[in-house]
Amino acid sequence: MTEKHRIYLDHAATTPVNQEVLDTMIPYFNSEFGNASSVYSYGRTARIAIEKAKNTIADVIHSLDSEIFFTSGGTESDNWAIRGVMQANEKKGKHIITSTIEHHAVWDTCKKLKKEGYEVTFLPVDGDGLININELNEAIREDTVMVSIMFANNEIGTIQPIEEIGALCKEKNVLFHTDAIQAVGHLEIDVEKMNINLLSMSAHKFGGPKGVGALYVKKGTRIGNLMYGGGQEKSKRPGTYNHVGIIGLAKALEISYKNIKDESKRQLELREALIQGISDNIEEVRLNGHPTKRLPNNVNMSFKYIEGESLLLSLDIMGISASSGSACTSGSLDPSHVLLAIGLDHATAHGSLRLTLGETNTRKDIEDTIDALIPIVKRLRNMSPLYVKGEQS
């Protein structure tokens, strides 16, 4: 297979920058490069572009322009939201509630807060990866400052009942942060209707550049800084504006939401075809994550008796890029905490494969992937000491 025929099925890890987005960004690298905080003309052009970007984002998520703050990506947005809110609200308490399937950017931040003396409740999820709203209700205490539950999971694609969580948090008067890094660009989001106080996003997950993200902070939310310095972003997030990245983020968002309904329907059909094709042709597989409350671009399946990295490498040799669990934890020996949280045993968790679709993927890509997977799984199973049935068949 030549480079031309590569099939990229790892859009949840990162996406290529959309060409239109790149074309929009290019002039800002060296013609309109001025420092957005300056008073002179160069800087003014950058400043206007940043204000426009806030407006674009605010339109998509139904917030005010002034509620959008730019960051260096999803990790910073998550860290800032959680640490910033917990530190600024110590008068109310030191308790935070999160789930057992959060991304490490939330998970590890919470674990660190715990070490520092905060109290953290890690809410379990069911076999499909959903939290239970009654359990959340019971977990909320007098001194609970915030709930941080992700919008959609990056590994298994499960979408949480965000609107219900938001309503409950509002009723109980606790702040609600959602890591929407996998949702933005793929699902419709309304922070007003969903009662979201803070929302994290990352540009490279929806056709924008890497190294830039945003945090929505509802007006009136008490939040401290993660970094100190210049006066940018009302001194809440200092540092010279990465206006090229910001312009890219906004353009990518705009493009994603232009025909989100059609595109998400298209991807959902491909997703179902992929799940069906694998299930029909390969024995002893299981779908991880909720069958319907699921990102339209996410397929996550476990293949018994084989190990994920071998599967990835074999697919890579065939020109197909995929992922096993979270790309961030590749190279680590422990299986994904998400797959364990939904009840998989270690061996099955190790044998998981994540295939995530993007706008350039076609039905042919799906067929080719299924065709490639069948002999690969067979070969690896024949090599596996765990596999007895059908050996050498």
Binding site: I306, E307, E309, S310, L313, I317, L333, D345, M383
Partner: protein, 125 residues
């Protein structure tokens, strides 16, 4: 350049030598666990104190498969005493290096082989 495999590793991963099992093996060794993500099983056939055949089965990552494959190649034809001196260092040298976090795969191969030899020895005692 960590986290990446060299050509030799990829070649052995793609075309592993000596995959399978030996019927009536002289010795068998299995190490690792599914929980850790790596299981290696090695069968050896010994004739006149010489390891005349080795076969493996591996559940694990690319490095684990390649390590098993290369280890079997290195061991065939060796005397039992020579084989007992085989360490993961020899393997790493032959393989041309592994990423840091994959070094343990070469150790697994060493251990599986030693266990197979010990198993053989315990039988002939």
């Amino acid at each position: 350049m960590t986290q990446m495999y060299n050509k030799k590793v990829m070649e052995h991963f793609s075309n592993p030598r000596n995959v399978g099992e030996i019927e009536n093996a002289s010795g068998t060794g299995q190490v690792g666990s599914a929980a850790c993500g790596d299981i290696m099983k090695i069968d050896i056939k010994v004739e006149d104190n010489i390891i005349v055949d080795v076969k493996f089965k591996t559940f694990g990552c690319g490095a684990a498969v390649a390590s098993s494959s290369i280890a079997t190649e290195m061991i065939i034809g060796k005397s039992v005493e020579e084989a007992l001196k085989f360490t993961n260092k020899d393997l790493l040298k032959e393989i041309g290096g592994l990423p840091n976090e994959k070094i343990h795969c070469s150790i697994l191969a060493e251990e599986a082989l030693q266990e197979a030899i010990n198993n053989y020895k315990s039988k002939i005692k």
